[in-house]
């Protein structure tokens, strides 16, 4: 049982600073997912927590104790790597028993714990095999088994599912969730797959370029993104963004001449003129889904219609700007149509164009 904190954590390689003083508090038993594009510093942060990389500034705390100088073996964390890092010359059993041997665990206890983990993960029939003789999914399980036999304070996962095919990834995701519920161990999980982040996390940490842009529940980061980056990164298809200009009278003009105006007298006086208007594809209504009072109705030209089964994606253009609409499959539109679309203003967002932050 453990809490984890980053306090102004910095990592630099020589002159190149890649993690810029991030702050994070992970509660005991929480499942936190670090998500962000490639190169944003997710792995680096995780590796500093594991003790595989030195910190360049700030502190890492486990259970309120600074562990910057504590050796990896004494931090009591277990890590699962993207390529699993299984010891190729050892059997599955030996792979899982490895860490226990170096923790002075009695032989009988080692066997019990390995068998216990093997039982949880369905690895019993494979215990005598070498990693080479396993499928990708089986190797992934062994890597998890190696982590759980330790009964560590904290689990660290660095893109553990990214080497699996889409279907297996889906089922392993579910298993990870169950496993976490069963063991209740504090978990930090790194991925660049936002679906993994949204489905697994108690809280999502969105990282961008060495900074943390937002920490929140999946619902929070989806519904109330704090920055334009978060808005664009979370959600698929991504949030629609349209240029917006604030007028002196408190109204905001969205999408230029062919667009629409909304009344936003609530935004502060000192807000800049140049804004960005954001709205999720499912908050744009078309055809019979248009309701009274939800927001302005404007005309858009349909470019492409993509039927996806449960819902249909309509790619349209509004005054020359791309607008993606997610609608019901029974709504009939076809490419080339000029259609009426309605924007659900209560679910829209305004960002400062300069800083990318929400107003």
């Amino acid at each position: 049982m453990a809490t984890v904190s980053f306090r102004a954590l910095v990592k630099a390689y020589g002159d190149l600073e890649v993690v810029h003083g991030i702050n994070l508090d992970v509660e005991d038993g929480e499942f936190v997912v670090l998500v962000g594009p490639s190169g944003c510093g997710k792995s680096t942060s995780l590796r500093m927590l594991a003790g595989l990389e030195d910190t360049s500034g700030g502190d890492i705390l486990i259970n309120e104790k600074v562990v910057n100088e504590v050796a990896p073996r004494d931090r009591d964390v277990a890590m699962v790597f993207q390529d699993y890092a299984l010891y190729p010359h050892m059997s599955v059993f030996e792979n899982m028993a490895f860490s226990l041997r170096y923790r002075k665990t009695p032989k009988a206890e080692i066997t019990t714990r390995v068998m216990e983990a093997a039982d949880i993960l369905g690895l019993e029939p494979l215990l005598q095999r070498r990693p080479k003789q396993l499928s990708g999914g089986q190797r992934q399980r062994v890597a998890m088994g190696r982590a759980i036999v330790r009964k560590p304070q904290v689990f660290l996962f660095d893109e553990p599912l990214s080497n699996l095919d889409a279907k297996l990834r889906g089922s392993m995701r579910l298993e990870m969730k169950k496993l976490h519920r069963r063991l209740g161990v504090t978990t930090l999980y790194v991925t660049h797959d936002q679906i993994e982040a949204m489905t697994l996390a108690d809280r999502v940490v969105v990282m961008n370029n060495g900074h943390i842009d937002q920490v929140g529940t999946p619902d929070e980061v989806y519904k109330s993104p704090k920055t334009l980056f978060v808005a664009g990164f979370i959600g698929s298809p991504t949030m629609n963004v349209l240029p917006a200009i604030r007028d002196a009278d408190g109204s905001v003009r969205v999408g230029g001449a062919d667009g629409f105006s909304i009344d936003r007298s609530d935004i502060p006086e000192d807000a800049p003129q140049n804004l960005v208007f954001g709205i999720r594809p499912e908050e744009v209504f078309v055809g019979e889904t248009i309701l009274d009072d939800k927001g302005p109705v404007v005309t858009a030209i349909v470019d492409v219609v993509e039927a996806q089964g449960p819902d249909t994606l309509v790619f349209a253009s509004l005054g020359g700007h791309d607008l993606t609409i997610r609608t019901r499959p029974d709504v009939k539109v076809k490419a080339g149509d000029a259609v009426q679309v309605q924007l659900n203003i209560s679910r829209s967002h305004l960002f400062n164009k300069e800083t990318g932050r929400t107003l």
């Binding site: 190729p88 010359h89 080479k132 190696r146």
Partner: protein
């Protein structure tokens, strides 16, 4: 089959044979035929200008029961082969050192590797000078340091000659082994060490439980190459001591040379060669078996 390449597959096979042929011919004429000829010769009486006569096991009996020099050469060869494990141990140490992120490591690598491509005769001559009792560098240094009063004639001394020759042999091959082991080391994924660090394995655990087992194929490749080198270190011995003093550094290979070209006993030399060949074959097979049949392969799961 060569002459009527009707199907595509036949044509392919014919092409493969065509490419293999030159190498196979060389192998046949310089390896297989001499070996077979040796085999025949070892059961015969023959020397240049004399008629060929069947000898049965005569030469083998002489060798095994009456020839002390053969046994000495065999024992010396066994001792000389200790150079291989010693070289591997040193090479492993060096490989671990130059695998670190140290300044100028590529320079060290080059320096250590440098002796290997040198001509063995040149190595022998350089070391003969180094060991020389009147002008040699080693004696000079030892005397300057006050470690010895009288110069030591290393290569003429019964107690030092073998060790001295082995030092030269080790010096030459260590760089080559180091490169083989370094390649093996660098093929071990860094993540394995990181996983082990987190799992709680200390540096020496990681060495014994991860580095060494995963280097096994590379190590046994060195063993096999070392065994071959020690059986065939003719040039080095010949230039440094000529097998002397007495029989102190006589190896099987120098003994075979002397039997043939000094004593003109080609038939007897052939018998010794056959014995050496089978000893060598056995050792190489055992080494390869110990390496799991994959000496030189890198044992990493994808």
């Amino acid at each position: 089959m060569f002459l009527k390449p009707k199907t595509k597959r036949n044509r392919e096979i014919a092409f493969i044979w065509m490419l293999l042929l030159p190498a196979l011919m060389v192998y046949l004429f310089y390896r297989i035929i001499p070996l077979l000829w040796n085999f025949v010769l070892s059961f015969s009486f023959w020397s240049p200008g004399k008629p060929f006569e069947y000898a049965g096991l005569y030469h083998y009996e002489e060798m095994l029961f009456y020839d002390d020099a053969f046994w000495t050469a065999l024992k010396n060869t066994a001792v000389f082969m200790l150079a291989t494990p010693i070289s591997i141990a040193i090479a492993l140490g060096l490989a671990l050192l130059v695998d670190q992120k140290i300044r100028g490591r590529s320079l060290y690598r080059t320096l250590i590797f440098l002796p290997y491509p040198m001509m063995v005769v040149a190595v022998g001559i350089v070391w003969r000078w180094l060991y020389n009792d009147s002008v040699g560098l080693i004696n000079y240094v030892l005397r300057s340091l006050g470690l010895i009063d009288q110069p030591i004639a290393f290569l003429e001394s019964y107690s030092f000659a073998m060790a001295s020759v082995m030092v030269a042999a080790i010096w030459q091959i260590v760089g080559f082994f180091m490169i083989i082991l370094l390649t093996g080391l660098q093929n071990i994924p860094a993540h394995l060490y990181e996983a082990a660090v987190i799992d709680g394995a200390r540096a020496h655990h990681r060495f014994w439980r991860i580095t060494l087992p995963l280097l096994r194929p590379s190590i046994f490749l060195c063993v096999i190459l070392g065994v071959i080198a020690s059986f065939t270190s003719f040039d080095l011995i010949y230039t440094m001591t000529g097998g002397g003093p007495g029989l102190a550094t006589e190896l099987l290979i120098t003994y075979i040379y002397k039997a043939s070209f000094t004593l003109s006993r080609f038939d007897y030399a052939a018998a010794v060669t056959i014995v050496m060949f089978f000893l060598f074959l056995t050792l190489a097979t055992v080494a390869n078996r110990l390496a799991g049949g994959d000496a030189g392969k890198v044992d990493i799961a994808d």
